[in-house]
Amino acid sequence: MDIGLIAIGAGLAVGLTGLGAGLAEKDVGAAAVGAITEDVSLFGKAMVLMVLPETIVIFGLVVAILAAFVLPGMI
C-alpha cells in the first residue's frame, strides 16, 4: 500500500511539473518562433529561454527519484 502511494507521488511529481513546463513553454515557444522569424541571429537566445521552463521538470524528476528510491528504504 505504502509503495503504491509512493509510486503515485513520484508520478504526480513528474506529471504535474511536466504540465507546468508545457504551459510555460506554450507562450515562450510561440514568442521564440516569432522572434526568430524576424531575426535568425536570435536563435541562440531564444533556445536558452525556450528550455528554461524545463528546469521545473528536472526538480520534479529529482523529487520522483527520491520518492521512488529513498523513501522505500525508510519505511
Partner: protein, 350 residues
C-alpha cells in the same frame, strides 16, 4: 487555461515579432545623420535600414524625393499587412479594426485626387494599402465613374453603407470635408466596437483609443479656431467617444476666444502639462500638434510595457513606424524644397 477557448489571439507570437521589428526602427541619432545627407544618400541610408526591398523595387520607376516617399509608404503598408496576416483570433480583429484608419485614409486620397483631376497613377502614389482593402480593391475604387459610385462601392467592400443624409449633404455642398468627417467618425465607432472591455489590457486599450479621439478632437478644434471658425460649426466635426473631452468641454473649447484662452478649460485634462508650453497664441499650431503626437507616442510606450501580451505593443509599434515614416518624409521633402536644416529638425517628432 490553455488558451484554446473561443477566439483568443496568438499574442506571444505576434508581440515577439512586433518587438523584433521595433528594435529595427531608426534611432534618434539617425535623423540627425539624415539631415546632413543629400537625397540619394538618404535613399541609400534607408535602404540599409530596413527599406532595401522597396528601394530596389522602385529605383527604376522613381528617383529623389519621390523614391523615398513611395518606398516608405510601400514598406509601411507591407509591414502592417504582414502583422495582420501573422495575427489570429481576437487580436487579428482588433489589429484589423485599427488598420481600418488606412482604408479611410485611402478613400480620402482617392476622393481628393479625383477632385483635383489627378490620374489613377497620380492617386496611387499616395495610397497606403495597409488596411482591409488591398491595392486590387483600391484600383476598383479608382476605376469608378463618379464619386457616388466610389462611395457606394466602398460601402459594399466594408459591408456597410454611407448614410443617405451624408451623401445628400455632400452632393448639395460638394464639400469633401462632409465625407472625411463621416469617415473619421465611422472609423472610431467601428474601432471602439471591436474592443470587448472584458479584461484589464483591453480596457486599457479602449482608454488609449478614447484618448486618441480626444487628441484628434483637440487638434480639429485648434485648427478650426486658427481659421476663425468657432461655436456650433466646430462641434459638428467633433468625434464622439472621447475620454476626457465630452460635448460640454468641446463646446467650451470651441467658444473660447483664443488658443491661450483655452488653457483654463484644458487644465482639467490629463495631458495638459505635456502641451502647456506649446499653448501660446504666438506658437504655431504645428508646435501643439507635435506636443500632442509626442504625448500619444509616450502613452503607447507606457501602456505597451504594462501589458506585454496584449494588442497594445502592436499598436505601439504601428504608431512608432508611422512616425518614423513621417519623419523620413519630412526630412526628404524639407531638403528637396530647400528648407533650413534647423527648421526641418523642428518639424520632426522624435
Amino acid at each position: 487555461m490553455f488558451g484554446r477557448k473561443g477566439k483568443k489571439g496568438n499574442y506571444a507570437y505576434t508581440v515577439a515579432r512586433v518587438k523584433a521589428k521595433k528594435a529595427g526602427l531608426l534611432k534618434e541619432d539617425a535623423y540627425s545623420k539624415m539631415l546632413m545627407m543629400s537625397l540619394p544618400e538618404i535613399s541609400r541610408f534607408i535602404s540599409e535600414s530596413g527599406y532595401q526591398k522597396e528601394i530596389t523595387e522602385l529605383t527604376g520607376k522613381y528617383d529623389g524625393v519621390d523614391l523615398i516617399e513611395h518606398a516608405t509608404y510601400t514598406n509601411m503598408a507591407r509591414l502592417f499587412r504582414g502583422i495582420l496576416e501573422a495575427s489570429q483570433g481576437e487580436l487579428r480583429d482588433m489589429i484589423a479594426a485599427d488598420l481600418g484608419r488606412w482604408d479611410a485614409w485611402n478613400l480620402k486620397v482617392i476622393l481628393r485626387g479625383r477632385s483635383f483631376g489627378l490620374s489613377a497613377d497620380g492617386i496611387k502614389e499616395d495610397l497606403v494599402p495597409a488596411g482591409e482593402l488591398d491595392m486590387a480593391h483600391l484600383e476598383k475604387l479608382m476605376g469608378c465613374e463618379t464619386d457616388e459610385d466610389v462611395l457606394t462601392m466602398f460601402g459594399k467592400m466594408q459591408k456597410t453603407s454611407i448614410p443617405q443624409d451624408v451623401l445628400s449633404r455632400y452632393k448639395a455642398e460638394g464639400n469633401l470635408s462632409v465625407i472625411e468627417d463621416y469617415l473619421d467618425k465611422y472609423f472610431y465607432e467601428k474601432l471602439l466596437l471591436s474592443i470587448d472591455p472584458s479584461s484589464r489590457p483591453k480596457r486599457l486599450y479602449q482608454d488609449f483609443i478614447r484618448n486618441e479621439i480626444d487628441i484628434t478632437n483637440l487638434e480639429t478644434i485648434l485648427k478650426l479656431k486658427k481659421e476663425g471658425i468657432s461655436g456650433e460649426d466646430v462641434l459638428q466635426y467633433v468625434i464622439p467617444g472621447g475620454k476626457q473631452i465630452d460635448r460640454k468641454l468641446a463646446t467650451q473649447l470651441a467658444n473660447a476666444e483664443s488658443v491661450s484662452a483655452m488653457a483654463n478649460d484644458l487644465a482639467q485634462l490629463d495631458f495638459f502639462e505635456e502641451i502647456k508650453p506649446a499653448l501660446d497664441d504666438t506658437n504655431s499650431l504645428r508646435d501643439i500638434v507635435a506636443a500632442l503626437t509626442k504625448y500619444h507616442i509616450k502613452q503607447a510606450k507606457t501602456f505597451s510595457h504594462l501589458y506585454p501580451l496584449s494588442v497594445i505593443p502592436v499598436v505601439d509599434y504601428m504608431i512608432h513606424k508611422e512616425n518614423e515614416v513621417n519623419n523620413i518624409r519630412i526630412i526628404a521633402r524639407g531638403l528637396d524644397s530647400g528648407l533650413d536644416r534647423e527648421v526641418i529638425r523642428g518639424l520632426l517628432v522624435v
